[in-house]
Subunit: 312 residues, 2 copies
Amino acid sequence: MKSTKNIYSDTANLDRRKFLTSVTKAVGTSVILTFPRLSFAGKFWPKNYALTVQQVIAIILKEIPGAPFATTVDQLRTGTMDQMVTGIVTTTFPTLEVIEQTAKVGANFIIAHETPFYNNQDETDWLEKDEVYQYKIALLKKHNIAIWRFHDYWHAHKPDGILMGTLSTLGWEKYYNPENPRLLTLPNPVAVKAIVALTKEKLGISTVRLVGDLKQNCTRIYMALGYMDSKRQIAAIEEFKPDLFISGETREWETVERVRDGRRMGQKTSLLVLSHAVSEEAGMQYAVKWLQPKVPGIKITHIPAKNPFTFV
Amino acid sequence: MKSTKNIYSDTANLDRRKFLTSVTKAVGTSVILTFPRLSFAGKFWPKNYALTVQQVIAIILKEIPGAPFATTVDQLRTGTMDQMVTGIVTTTFPTLEVIEQTAKVGANFIIAHETPFYNNQDETDWLEKDEVYQYKIALLKKHNIAIWRFHDYWHAHKPDGILMGTLSTLGWEKYYNPENPRLLTLPNPVAVKAIVALTKEKLGISTVRLVGDLKQNCTRIYMALGYMDSKRQIAAIEEFKPDLFISGETREWETVERVRDGRRMGQKTSLLVLSHAVSEEAGMQYAVKWLQPKVPGIKITHIPAKNPFTFV
């Protein structure tokens, strides 16, 4: 048997998995623990038996209505489906720093909400000569880290995992309305200023951007965490006329200008821009709480990507 | 003859223009001033004769290499080509507030760098039921204001009008290199902190966003004012490896994450995000200086769109 350090190379994983699977079929799980050469698997076994990336993904997809989807960005982007999972990390953006920390905590499977490759479709052809891309791929290979996007499925979960994680963090889960999940109605008006303070404190954001009035009162709040297409954002503003539209990442020359003009015309909707990564991190932290009981033998750690910006 | 207030309605414009044109052809400009019913035109005439929107655009296009372009967003978006210009306003974004101020200064032609309709292609089908769009169109009609995009042509001017206006405002025009206009090389290293302070002061920006290190020294600066496609931004960062990449509007999950990863890997490029409108306003202010001598009888006013954001 190879050392623990090297056992997770592709071939070793495959051999080990095949071996465990066949032994299980042959003799049943209760016997395995007495089999001396398999003692390294004891911490996962029998309740917490070792899982491959594919098995973890299958466990997740069982919880998602309509999964698997014919078209989705939620694909395995690095690593292999066969590889044995030594630990899971959840994050919004699998940045180089998150990858380094993943290796440090001994995990080899990053469940990332967003793209590792600087484009939502995770296309890599255009990046092949990019030194940062090359470095990132090499680092992922060195640590044998698999990255799977958990974007479309997590949003498709009932309730939307990103939204519910955020609402819980803000203490707003009681305002969740399954009929219209993105639109919250507060029982009493709250000033934009207080909502800004709440999001900054609970989501750990140093500075946010506002198109609007800090003194304005809000009862109707539309949640558009992460990125949402501007045409859809503008349609939602027109349809629901929220007092406050909370966005992760948005487009200045699209939604931002529409909100600015709307306010000039007399419409009340203010726009609060949190920044992409920090707007969805609570949702990926919540993924730990949600997934851990389903894979009890695998340690799941949330490593936040953090806000890339300094505001000066 | 109709009153000055109403003379610029579509029909009146057309009649007046045709009338002036035919009179000019018949008798020559020098005679016109003595023609009593045309005395209202005296202030434009003969050197500064009244111009239609189309004539102003033609004067501009004469200065642009390769114009007219087969495909460009620089189209007339409201008003008519035939309308007589009472005054010109330049701006980045023709916001409702800019339109109101345009009417106040008695101008009826906005030369705008960016979209009035919240999308770069200026498509309006999707907005037909949007109340803000309807209000904006009604306001433009009420004041009979023409909007023409001056985006692609202004960037295609030699030198790029937005870039040169900004460089002049920053005192950096001496670093302009026609061989590689976007890349500036400073003679001595300057700290990011000092460049941030300079852009904030000279461009009138309250807060900027930085991915990088305020203490880092810069000599190579890449200018990507306004919006630039992320793949092009990332390719430029990879090709030129600037110390500082100055952007107007950018994409968080694309360029921003690439810069963040690059810095983690050891690359030096910092990213300074100014915000879209304020990053190009100096270029539209410069358009006044550039265009005024070409249409000496028409008053040109720069009305800044200003930054839509409050940073909290």
